[in-house]
Symmetry: C2
Subunit: 190 residues, 2 copies
């Protein structure tokens, strides 16, 4: 089945400080015309920092839309013209005060397929060394260190709620399990 929609027109209808809303008209697969209201986003990076003792570093911050403090993996928006990998390094240092020697790209995630084009790149960051965190001036957050195994339990039982955090913690943990068991998958030397 052909599922693609064709853009007929696109108009910036709200040009906010953070949110840019576009009202597009599209041709559907059955030839009918419909409208799509969407937000353009610069993209983001999401980091799962894991130390040699198997701890992960999360951040608590007040999330205004939800009216509560949310525990999340460190993450941040790309700045204009910024590449994802330097952004991941920058944000990890800003939010957690950590540099990582070993970076593993764990793929992309799409948080908002219904109404926004935000693309998140997920990184596993290991070989951590710590300095001072220095969040943006209007960013108030607390770093929380806990065993990755505990974060996995919390992602499964619902104590972790942020979607990128649940997805990235579980993806990273299962990826590391697979990496650790890899020797078993290799052919034995005869």
């Amino acid at each position: 089945m052909e599922l693609t929609e064709k853009t007929l027109s696109s108009k910036l209808v709200y040009d906010g400080g953070l949110l840019k809303v576009y009202y597009d008209t599209v041709e559907l697969v059955n030839g009918a015309t419909a409208w799509r209201e969407i937000i353009r986003h610069p993209g983001a990076v999401v980091m799962v920092p894991v130390d040699e003792e198997g701890n992960v570093y999360l951040v608590r911050q007040y999330r205004y839309p939800y009216g509560k403090v949310v525990l999340e993996v460190p993450a941040g928006k790309l700045e204009v013209g910024e590449e994802p990998f330097p952004a991941a390094q920058r944000e990890l240092e800003e939010e957690v005060g950590a540099k990582a020697e070993q970076w593993t790209f764990l793929g992309e995630m799409l948080p908002t397929p219904g109404f926004c084009d935000e693309l998140q790149r997920v990184y596993l960051a290991r070989g951590l060394s710590f300095g001072e965190s220095h969040p943006d001036e209007d960013e108030f957050l607390e770093v929380v260190k806990l065993p990755l195994s505990q974060a996995v339990d919390m992602a499964v039982d619902g104590r972790l709620q942020d979607s990128k955090t649940v997805a990235a913690i579980l993806r990273a943990s299962l990826w590391m399990n697979k990496e650790a068991s890899e020797p078993c998958h290799k052919s034995p030397v005869m």
Copy 2:
């Protein structure tokens, strides 16, 4: 550390067909004033339908913001005044053509802590029986059946990208593993 932000004012600045954008001013924890631009959302339900052979049912649909077809768990927005559980039953039937006898609530997920208040309720749906799917008139989708174990691999290696899908598939799978191994965790009868 106190992290709460206090709302000083709130104004609807874009009243679209889908998106309602609010521009709020807030008092930060340091007493400074800042603005928050956010979208109000009615909430959504996310289902992981798993049959007795261990297959999961996903849907492929064109996602206009990303300009491509995305493979996702079935999900849908709450209608005005609708409770989450009946919405989950309705959406599973609409999108997949399935009814489920056994529903397990797997907690909440917050997909957009930066700029939208969408709250997703996640359900594991088992004991499936199939009829006809009947998506909304402007909804074009294809149901894809695959082993849950394969979907887990795809969530880990990045072939599945939709955040709610990665999070919900991995949460459901690990939850079911725990459920299956539960007898092992119980104290032995002496």
